[in-house]
């Protein structure tokens, strides 16, 4: 066991990938000498050289598009998109090309490209640097989407993403890059399957499903609720596509109440999908409607008011009150 931050854990995971998989390479803007704007690729160009850690032109469509070409030649590129809000120039390549290549080739071609996207707010940043666009990608068949919430998961999930033969988008919770935790670099343990949800805290009164940056928030909310005598189960979804509905369903069948929280706007979001599926799967177990906690239907607001936008402990507790009131 080693203690490290999420950023360092991804760095170590990428180092392990580059060491163990000679066909893997990293591509992105400023990922070489600078080590990326968040230093996630710090030091890697020195160890693996410019053919494996590629500073690209400033062009997201070009990054994803050339990564697809490299993967067709048998390489496994890991692309870094600098910020969530800047993925959209590459959105066409991700959704019309990367996601569909295996299907449209009748299974003859595989494009195991990984796209890393730092996402989410709470860092006091300027426009386009705090968004959570995961639902836009989750809606696209052919992609897999995962998001680690702690260093151990971050270390293993980035490597599992590269091993996966499908394209995988890894949403990295940027405001948690400096969150420290224990990493077992020898054994993934319970994190062996990146597409499985984890029950982080058991409870009996309600289930709170979260992922990425809101995991610590939900755990803190559960702790606060416990002081009021309420027993809250917390699930870290880990994978947004596919979603591990079995784990969520089992939990709701036990607790009877479900709250889904994410930073992304609730309308058309992951919470709505979970609410619909759980309503079908666990209708007779539900004591209350599934309640969503998330961003409002507006462009991500300016940093000075983002506290009013982002779900926090109180927003989750308020939802819990509403669920328990039924």
């Amino acid at each position: 066991m080693t203690t490290m931050t999420i950023a360092k854990a991804i760095n170590e995971g990428l180092r392990a990938t580059l060491t163990n998989n000679p066909r893997s390479l990293l591509m992105g803007e400023d990922i070489g000498a600078l080590g990326g704007v968040y230093r996630v690729t710090d030091g890697l160009i020195g160890e693996f050289g410019g053919d494996r850690v590629v500073d690209t032109p400033l062009a997201e469509s070009g990054i994803i598009g050339t990564a697809i070409g490299l993967s067709l030649r048998g390489y496994q590129p890991v692309c870094e998109i600098q910020f969530d809000g800047f993925v959209f120039p590459g959105f066409n390549q991700i959704t019309t090309q990367l996601a569909k290549m295996h299907s449209r080739s009748n299974g003859n071609l595989t494009v195991p490209v990984v796209v890393r996207i730092p996402y989410g707010g709470g860092i006091g940043s300027i426009e386009h640097h705090s968004e959570s666009p995961e639902a836009l990608f989750a809606h696209t068949a052919g992609l897999r989407i995962i998001t680690p919430s702690n260093p151990h998961d971050a270390y293993w999930m980035i490597q599992q993403a590269v091993e996966c033969q499908d394209p995988v988008i890894v949403f990295e919770p940027k405001r948690r890059y400096w969150l420290k935790g224990e990493v077992d670099t020898e054994n993934p343990g319970a994190s062996a399957d990146p597409f499985k949800a984890h029950v982080l805290r058991e409870g009996s009164d309600a289930t709170v499903v979260v992922y990425g940056p809101l995991v610590p928030v939900a755990l803190a909310a559960a702790e606060a609720a416990a002081e009021d005598g309420r027993s809250v189960e917390v699930i870290d979804l880990r994978s947004i596509s596919p979603i591990d509905f079995d784990t969520v369903t089992a939990s709701v069948q036990k607790t009877g109440r479900l709250i889904v929280a994410h930073e992304a706007p609730t309308f058309g979001g992951i919470g709505g999908e979970i609410a619909a599926r759980i309503s079908e799967r666990a209708f007779h177990s539900l004591e209350a409607p599934v309640i969503r906690v998330g961003g409002f239907h507006m462009p991500y607001p300016v940093a000075k008011v983002e506290e009013d936008y982002l779900p926090d402990i109180d927003r989750i507790l308020e939802a819990l009150d509403r669920a328990l009131a039924y």
Binding site: L25, D51, T56, P57, A59, S61, G62, I64, G65, T66, A67, I68, G69, L70, S71, L72, R73, G74, Y75, P77, P89, N92, Q93, T96, Q97, K100, H102, S103, R104, S105, N106, G107, N108, L109, T110, P112, A141, G142, R144, C164, Q165, D166, F195, S241, P242, I243, D244, F245, D246
Partner: protein
């Protein structure tokens, strides 16, 4: 670098009005820019300081092969258009007029090269030995691909304009890495025969040249000196919009801004297209970086079978371009030089009819796929949502098991 002795395609910004006027003329069939041409519309072979030596290498059999290929693919085009008109294909994308651009460039490629087409490159597909009946799968609505690119190094058609251009550059970057790895591994193993050097060629049109992906691709290709040839068929019309709306300078000139050679070639001259492409692919394979070729040609027919060119262009223009027909000029040359006789042309026609019959029959026989294959091919690895939806579909379908299968077609149509 090699570009310095090439025919100049330099654009002088001071005379833009002259350029535009000339371009307007070009729309009517008179190209304004220096353009590589070896075989003129009258069938006489000219010369070029750089490219004639490539033409001189072509033996009579190869030249006859060019004609046979162009004739075959034109016949195929007629047949596919007919199949669409008869309701056997959902859509067809005709290539008539562009045979020389496609056969000349495709025949210049080598088996180890990898080709990224857009969606009109049926002639290139022929040169890569793609089964043309397989190619119709996509247009019949039974596949989104139809052939396995790994068999022929001819990628699937890409319908999102220019999206394949960065794929081509990435593939070329992969070739570079393979070559560097092979070179590193070969140290101390002198005398070992290496894999033949490979390059990538990517096709797009004058319309697609406006897409950002072309720009980004050229930036990447130039930055990394990737072994890729950008082959732009300027067929003058992006559906209904003339190429003058896509560009105010000859497209070949754009290469200069990226720092690699750009050449405009007479796209209806199969000998010149072959020569220029062979040169460009050599440049790429030898590590001299990318080349842009603009094949100046014309889409004689409609954009697709859903298009009506009479709404946006005059028949006079079409007539001017028909006078530059790529097949006619090669036929004139072959006959004048005594390289082909009536029997040859008869045989070519017969071969075309045979291909058409084969394509017609095979198209009728193409099997409709089962939607279960779509479930199976969405992901490589097992996926719980796909499995759940497939299970639902099986159960749902089983509910109709008792129904008369004879009426299945009618029921299906009625349901829509």
């Amino acid at each position: 670098m090699g570009a310095t002795h090439l025919p100049s395609t330099e654009f002088d910004g001071t005379d833009i009005d002259d350029q535009l006027e000339a371009e307007a003329e070009a729309q009517l069939g008179a190209p304004a820019e220096p353009m590589v041409q070896l075989l003129g519309p009258d069938g006489t072979l000219g010369s070029d300081p750089v490219f004639s030596k490539y033409a001189e290498k072509l033996d009579p059999e190869t030249l006859r092969g060019f004609y046979a290929d162009m004739s075959k693919i034109r016949r195929f085009d007629v047949e596919a258009t007919a199949l669409q008109r008869q309701g056997q294909l959902a859509l067809w994308v005709p290539l008539t007029g562009q045979e020389a651009a496609q056969i000349g460039s495709g025949r210049a490629s080598q088996p180890q090269d990898y080709i990224f087409p857009t969606y009109r490159e049926h002639g290139v597909a022929l040169t890569r030995n793609v089964d043309l009946a397989e190619l119709l799968r996509q247009f019949r609505g039974v596949s989104n691909g139809g052939w396995n690119p790994k068999d022929t190094n001819f990628h699937l058609y890409t319908l999102v304009l220019a999206a394949q251009t960065p794929h081509a550059v990435g593939y070329a970057m992969g070739i570079q890495r393979d070559q560097r790895l092979a070179a590193a591994n070969a140290v101390g193993e002198a005398g070992q025969s290496a894999e033949p050097k490979a390059a990538v060629m990517v096709y797009f049109g004058d319309g697609a040249s406006s897409e950002g992906d072309v720009h980004e691709s050229m930036v990447f290709a130039s930055s990394y000196q990737a072994p890729v040839v950008f082959f732009c068929q300027n067929n003058h019309w992006a559906i209904s919009v003339p190429s003058s709306v896509q560009t105010r300078v000859p497209l070949a000139n754009r290469a200069k801004g990226y720092g690699f050679p750009g050449i405009r070639v007479d796209g209806n001259d199969v000998i010149a297209v072959h020569a220029v492409t062979e040169w460009a692919l050599e440049q790429a394979r030898e590590g001299n970086g990318p080349v842009l070729i603009e094949a100046f040609t014309y889409r004689v027919g409609a954009h697709t079978t859903a298009d009506d060119p009479t709404k946006y262009r005059g028949s006079a223009e079409e007539g001017l371009w028909r006078a530059k027909d790529p097949l006619e000029r090669l036929e004139k040359y072959l006959r004048a030089e005594g390289l082909a006789d009536d029997a040859f042309f008869e045989q070519v026609r017969a071969d075309g009819d045979e291909l058409a019959a084969y394509v017609r029959k095979t198209t009728h026989d193409l099997e409709t796929p089962d939607i279960r294959t779509a479930f199976a091919n969405t992901y490589v690895e097992a996926h719980p949502l796909v499995a759940e939806e497939l299970a639902w579909f099986e159960e749902y379908s089983a509910g109709f098991a008792d129904e008369e299968p004879a009426n299945a077609d009618q029921t299906d149509k009625a349901a829509r």
